[in-house]
Assembly symmetry: D2
Homo-oligomer: 366 residues x 4
């Protein structure tokens, strides 16, 4: 079975392969009356775009989005919005040598086993290129959120590359846009730069941890028991290529805390309930508390490396394989805007579940 849609009321179906003519997202459930234009979505795509620096794949894709449906005179109409991105720089020849062998760490072998055939060019459907469609859909989600929850802000950044984590004391939000790593710690960004250069030159790669924070999230979002906000976020983040773990608030560290430490005590502030800490990551019982929603996810190292690894072929041979191509030494870097996009989609979805999509009769006559 294929299952290419996520979301309950805000439903995003992504489609397309790394080297097909195009890819995109069919986005159903955008409320009517939301200002939508291609330039605005392009803004988010450009952040994710490959080839912008030496730390991401050198594939050159303009990733130009076209809106094919669902808007009229600049506003969403409540009908599906089709976002299409044409592939241009495909270089399928690069992949001829992996047509019949399975790159370790890639989905080559599992797609082949499951489906019996696979589009091996650039990983086909399993390529991280699919995330461009998510980022485009996330742009739509942000546009709707700007209307429905104007105080909501989403910010993603890298907090760890390999074993090297940022120093929270040096956290500076302004730094995030200033370095190629979306790193809020300028000093660590400088260190990563050299570290990744070395890795690349030694034909290696490394993993990373990304944190995405949403502030201004209304209290009350989340659909217990099986559409909990954290459950949906876990699913959304884990569906991103190469992600191996998802944390909410304290995450794995919660295991080591005591109940006394972990309790987010509550008092009143000027605007109502105020939590003294946020170990919970803004979610209790699957429902948002109004605090920052804090999600982290770990991305494994890029599997495509120039160091030979042992593997097998469809024909049954054992070989050593070097994966050529234009790959990111740290695929986590490009996951930052993807994580932000998933956060935006999940939050909008839950907001719509609470409040409906059209809000009753909208058009007045006479």
């Amino acid at each position: 079975m294929s299952f290419n849609t996520f979301g309950h009321l805000f439903r995003v179906t992504t489609w397309g392969e790394s080297h097909g003519p195009a890819l995109g997202a069919t986005v159903d459930g955008v409320p009517p009356g939301v200002p939508v234009d291609a330039a605005q979505i392009q803004h988010w795509l450009d952040r994710r775009k490959p080839g912008q620096n030496k730390f991401t794949t050198q594939r050159q894709e303009p990733d130009q989005v076209r809106i094919l449906s669902g808007t009229f005179e600049g506003l969403s109409t409540g009908t599906p919005i089709q976002l299409m991105i044409e592939n241009t720089d495909q270089r399928s020849k690069d992949y001829g040598d992996i047509a019949k062998s399975f790159r370790p760490g890639h989905a080559d072998i599992t797609y082949y086993q499951k489906y019996g055939l696979r589009d091996y060019r650039g990983g086909g459907r399993s390529s991280a290129r699919e995330t461009a469609a998510r980022v485009a859909a996330g742009g739509l989600a942000r546009a709707a959120l700007a209307q429905l929850a104007p105080d909501l802000r989403i910010s993603g950044y890298m907090v760890q590359v390999g074993p090297h984590a940022i120093d929270r004391a040096r956290f500076d939000a302004a730094e995030i846009e200033r370095n190629p790593f979306w790193c809020p710690d300028a000093e660590m960004a400088a260190f990563w730069s050299g570290y990744l250069d070395d890795l690349r030159l030694s034909h290696n790669s490394v993993g990373a941890v990304i944190e995405v924070v949403a502030s201004g999230v209304p209290a009350g979002l989340g659909a217990p028991i099986y559409g909990k906000l954290d459950s949906d976020l876990a699913s959304a983040m884990m569906s991103i290529n190469a992600v191996k773990a998802v944390e909410i608030g304290e995450g794995m560290a919660a295991a080591a805390l005591t109940g006394v430490e972990n309790a987010d005590e509550i008092r009143f502030g000027p605007n109502g309930p105020e939590y003294l800490t946020n170990h919970a990551g803004g979610i209790l019982g699957g429902i948002s508390t109004g605090q920052d929603v804090v999600v982290r996810f770990a991305v494994k190292p890029t599997s495509s490396i120039l160091t030979p690894r042992r593997t097998i072929t469809t024909a049954g041979d054992e070989i050593d394989l070097i994966t050529k191509g234009r790959h990111d030494p740290c695929v986590g870097i490009r996951a930052v805007p993807v994580g932000e996009a998933m956060m935006a989609c999940v939050l909008l979805d839950h907001l719509l579940m609470d409040r409906g999509q059209t809000g009753g009769v909208r058009g007045q006559i006479g």
Copy 2:
């Protein structure tokens, strides 16, 4: 809420408006390994294509389908297949005069009330043009059915135009492709031709009844209680523009039958159980019996007519409106291939629910 997807495992999301840049279908759940090519899908689209004779809208659309994803070397890969049809002959100027008035019998007023704004050009999303996407998706469904249930055949035809029904005694399947009405009764087809000419000249239109029959349907399809085969067919056919009723087997006439008459008695034939009649239309308890699945649906008369009708405007005025444009005197004609497409989609969906989509490990190694 917008809800532009149908199907359980074979999921079709249609998108696009009558006068946007393009429309299409995002088709998820096609099993891997199905031969898919644009020409084959084009075949079904050409049957539905407008402007082919004087009884259907004179809009000239090549309705050329492009496959943007989900196939590799001519076979489906198990990933979403994007089918796009670009709009070319849009003539939006024809619709300027209805931007602010509501055509009686159309969705103009309800879309406006629901969404607060609408793409009025050609009916926007509510245009019957959306059914082109269904027909394209139906072409994919047929390709998959050809593999999974090779004996399955689907045939749609008109059985009534206005009050004039065919004579079942003259039923000749070979006639269906020979007249512009998909009519299996040559004599009635000739009569309809004159009848519709008269209606058109008098600025009027008329309704119709379409029957769609599937033979060679395996026994056992249907997911009781709320995914019954007939329940899903009813939903599918009722979702077609202008459809006001759906019948299975005897349909409304079942009310007038006695239990003695209506019983489809069972004996054994050379290939197992054999029913002596088919009042049930091939479905018992929501599950296929192996007999022909017989569905009929009634299409209301085209609402766009050149006779003035009373209506109102968004500004609150009462006016008399003539709906110009290029409209079908009997929109039912073009519903025939659409009904066939929906039948194909529903049957494939249920076949996949029974048997799964990948059938376990498919790719053998070594």
Copy 3:
């Protein structure tokens, strides 16, 4: 595949067999704060209850509903409401003789073919007894509608038994509760009484047509394209046991109308747009217009009759079968409250899709 849930946001999962220990409905999506008590749901169940007169099955079931979850201090909490009805008068021995033979017109053969085994006692899951769970769920839907759309009223009644239809000129809503047929035409009710007596004595049965009308429906309900209000109603009604056709507004008769006749012209009335007719049955483009929503469905004659019918057995024998048991001569009678319940469920579901379920933060602190 089994598919026992209906609804998008108001989701009803029915469970249970005719002769198991209990049956019921798991109802998810009731908004919080709705007054819910068992007596109120019991009211609707009592209307459907078998054994109330000689025209319905003589099985005596108290059909006592118990609420096992989802309410607190008399109000819904927004969590799933479990409605359980215990089976008491099961007489499984009546069904021993059909354990290995297939009653014509029943789901016996298709369940057997699909699942390889079946609970043959009283039809098991395919029994019309399952509709008790729907009626209970419909009671919940009505309670929620009473809060969300207080002017909404739902009324079901029989308009045809066998070939004998009511005279619309004699329509009197007050009559509906006064006869065992939910017939709005007293004269026809009296006629049906004798007619059904004769049928029963001659070991026969007959079909019927039920009409369900909802007034006070807000404009704007419906989720085009594939969750249209009429599409969902068609699915809901077709899922009721023995239903073979569903009509909206003019239904099949729409085929015989011209566009001039069928146009529901619009003017202004004291409360906004006013339609001069209602051929559409209150739905345009899948969205409610604010007029009465009018649905009709045809129920086939009871298949269980005392007249022998030809059939086969699991062992491969051809036999003649008389279906004993306690059966309704016209199963359509008991379908009336079921049709009403389905209407209530579908309308609530669409209301919630438009307006959400919790409507944002509800609980105020301090």
Copy 4:
């Protein structure tokens, strides 16, 4: 919106509150012909049952499951199976003092904010008592898996309590059932015993990490892109009460690995492809590889502790609250069987997606 169902084809809807009359699971999608009996499900419930030792809540619940539907003569029929567990030892009086105050770390405040009212008795719907229904459903899933994938084994155990993790070198599967912690390291189990005693006496609690491993999982399970096996596992585990993080394979540690280290190299073994390591946790591109599927999740410390914590009341007061009641010092202990149950449900669901539920015509006639 409430969302109490999980699964695609194997769909489990849990219902019930901590102190209502009963709770349970409505399980739809069990394939027909699976041997099902209450004793077998009871086995799994007994493992989770509270009050079995001093480390879990002292509430005494027999947790006796009743099967109300969906089976016939000991076999599943393909219809919904209703599993009901009656609540007996409810002691609602214990909770009177928290009716109007919000326990820190609990869902009290968010349920109140979302729904405007809440069943405060024992946490109502948000109580971990809901997980009994999951364990019952998991028992059904295991029964089906025993038929469909007989080599599949699922084993859950604790690997960390507070900061104290097991020593993998001492891992002994036989130990798991021998201590109250499902701990595979006997030495660490002994240590935890004293550690937890101390915590309890000091009115404190602590978090934990649970690992669940499935061996014998067929290759090819998983529905990319948004129904990936790991994505569904993340969602399933994160939906368990108090879970704050989910890891697959290396999990968070993947971030610190290099591509050379992390590559799971492939060679051939006697039964086909053989991976030399399992950093991936048995899943590549969202699809199972055939290796062990390895999931870990972190459970936060029990929030109900006897140490006073600052909080607020519905009336707007600031108070210090001690949460009395019968609570687990380490709620993670009882999460072990829950994690196993979720693993079983997710794997069955994916197996059915691949292979269908009925597999075509099952019942042979003659």
